[in-house]
Amino acid sequence: MAKVELTRHLYSFFPELEGRELHVEASTVAEVVREMERVAPGIAFYVCDERGRLRMHVNVFVDDERIVDRARLSDGVGPHSRVLIMQALSGG
């Protein structure tokens, strides 16, 4: 199962996730987001817009690589991948 790590900023909206080890069954980033929505209802709309596109100021990394497909989140995820959902640094 892929391991999911979140920016600590998301814990202020989803405090129930703080301190939890998050592992999800997923083969793409889109599936990771879908599984995370099951764990923490509402979180998908924080990470993506209602068309399923990654929000402009959010980054997702699979292992050390930033994902390429921000529209459909089709980037692959392996069984031992580490998926990071981060706040993009947007200047300053």
């Binding site: 998301l10 709309f45 817009d49």
Partner: protein
């Protein structure tokens, strides 16, 4: 009667209560933009319309007077909702085609409460969302979304390709139109006015099944035809709750008043007194001829006039205006007051500025006291029952 002032700011939601003196308290959403905060008069629930820089627009509500806040069920555009966008020409100089954009929620801008508990939310891009279950679910009003003035039905086809709804700089990065004023008729659940910057005022009298423009008498000073059907720039529209046929509009091109429910408008600016350009307007609860404004200096400057801040009040439907200055700074003031940042209830008025000043009057504007000078930039001010 005890009252609370609900303040939305660039950095969170504040509740201001009077305990001896008016005292602001950060109620929630620290660090998040709180575009508009209001209390549902039917349930007492507080609603905050948030814009998280990274995480998008979110509806938040509090059922304990602002002690705690929770995410509400979120507003989303339905699949297939598209709107006409205006692109800049491309870098090689070729003309940009008009594009159809898939709508996603850019901004939650205004919430209003109609009779029978109905809740309305206005959004960017240009959506009116309606809830008949206390805010558990919201549905996009499609007749307004598909209105001929914005290019027709883009759910089922490509429409006319022409929109008269242009964009607003308030649209969080994209230049898209927004609904900033929703005015439900307290006498009639079927009747609602909405206003859109650079489009105009629209009315439904059949519960949102059809909409018509309500811009007769409106005059602009930036289009070839000053009385064009569309293209007017209402900054904010408000009505008198006890006399809903009395409707006021602070507009880019002046102050307009209607005594017949927006069927016809009359310009009631008094530029010599500085009463012309501005964003908010408040209307008395009982007497529709009584209104307040916080004027600014022209669309070019958008500043307090000559460094002095004043509130303008009329008691005769705009035939004459008074400048109210007692307690307000008359030198070195550069406050701008946004469209939602002047509120009133009974004899109490309050307004907040982009420079973080919050002023309250308990005598219908005759005198003012500063409640805070160092708040974040203020987006909205509303007064609710305590």
């Amino acid at each position: 009667m005890s009252e609370r002032i609900l303040v939305g700011t660039r950095k969170g939601t504040f509740v201001v209560k009077k305990a001896g003196r008016w005292t602001p308290r950060l109620s929630g959403h620290a660090g998040a933009g709180s575009n508009f905060v209001a209390a549902d008069p039917h349930t007492g629930t507080l609603w905050a319309l948030l814009g998280h820089g990274h995480w998008g627009a979110k509806l938040s509500r509090s059922r304990d007077g602002g002690e705690t806040w929770q995410d509400a069920p979120q507003i989303k555009y339905p699949e297939g909702a598209r709107y006409i966008g205006h692109e800049m020409p491309s870098e090689d100089g070729s003309e940009a085609p008009t594009t159809l954009r898939a709508a996603t929620l850019l901004k939650l801008w205004h919430i209003a409460f109609g009779p029978q508990g109905r809740i309305y939310v206005g959004t960017i891009p240009g959506g009116l969302f309606v809830s008949d279950d206390g805010g558990e679910t919201f549905e996009l009003n499609r007749p307004l979304w598909n209105h001929e003035s914005r290019g027709g039905d883009l759910f089922s086809g490509d429409g006319t390709g022409v929109t008269h709804w242009y964009g607003t700089p308030a649209s969080e990065g994209e230049f898209a139109p927004g609904i900033h004023s929703i005015v439900p008729d307290p006498r009639n659940p079927e009747r609602v006015l909405v206003a859109i910057s650079t489009a105009g005022v629209l009315e439904t009298v059949d519960g949102g099944k059809s909409w018509r423009g309500r811009n007769k008498g409106m005059l602009n000073d930036y289009l070839p035809d000053p009385a064009a059907e569309w293209g007017h720039d209402p900054h904010y529209v408000e009505q008198c709750p006890a006399q809903p046929d009395h409707v006021w509009q602070q507009n880019h091109s002046g102050v307009f008043y209607s005594a017949d429910g927006a069927a016809t408008w009359t310009k009631v600016s008094e530029p010599e007194l500085g009463v012309h350009f501005g964003f908010p307007v408040a209307v008395d609860d009982a007497d529709g001829r009584v209104a307040w404004l916080v004027p600014g200096r022209s669309d070019n400057q958008r500043m307090a006039i000559d460094g002095g801040l004043f509130v303008a009040r009329t008691t005769d439907g705009g035939q004459s205006w008074q400048r109210l200055t007692k307690g307000l700074p008359q030198t070195h003031a550069y406050d701008v007051v946004y469209r939602h940042a002047l509120g009133n209830r009974g004899d109490t008025l309050a307004f907040g500025s982009t420079t973080g000043n919050l002023y309250v009057s308990e005598d219908r504007g005759d005198s003012w006291q500063a409640v805070g000078h160092n708040l974040p930039p203020i987006y909205s001010v509303r007064i609710a029952a305590g």
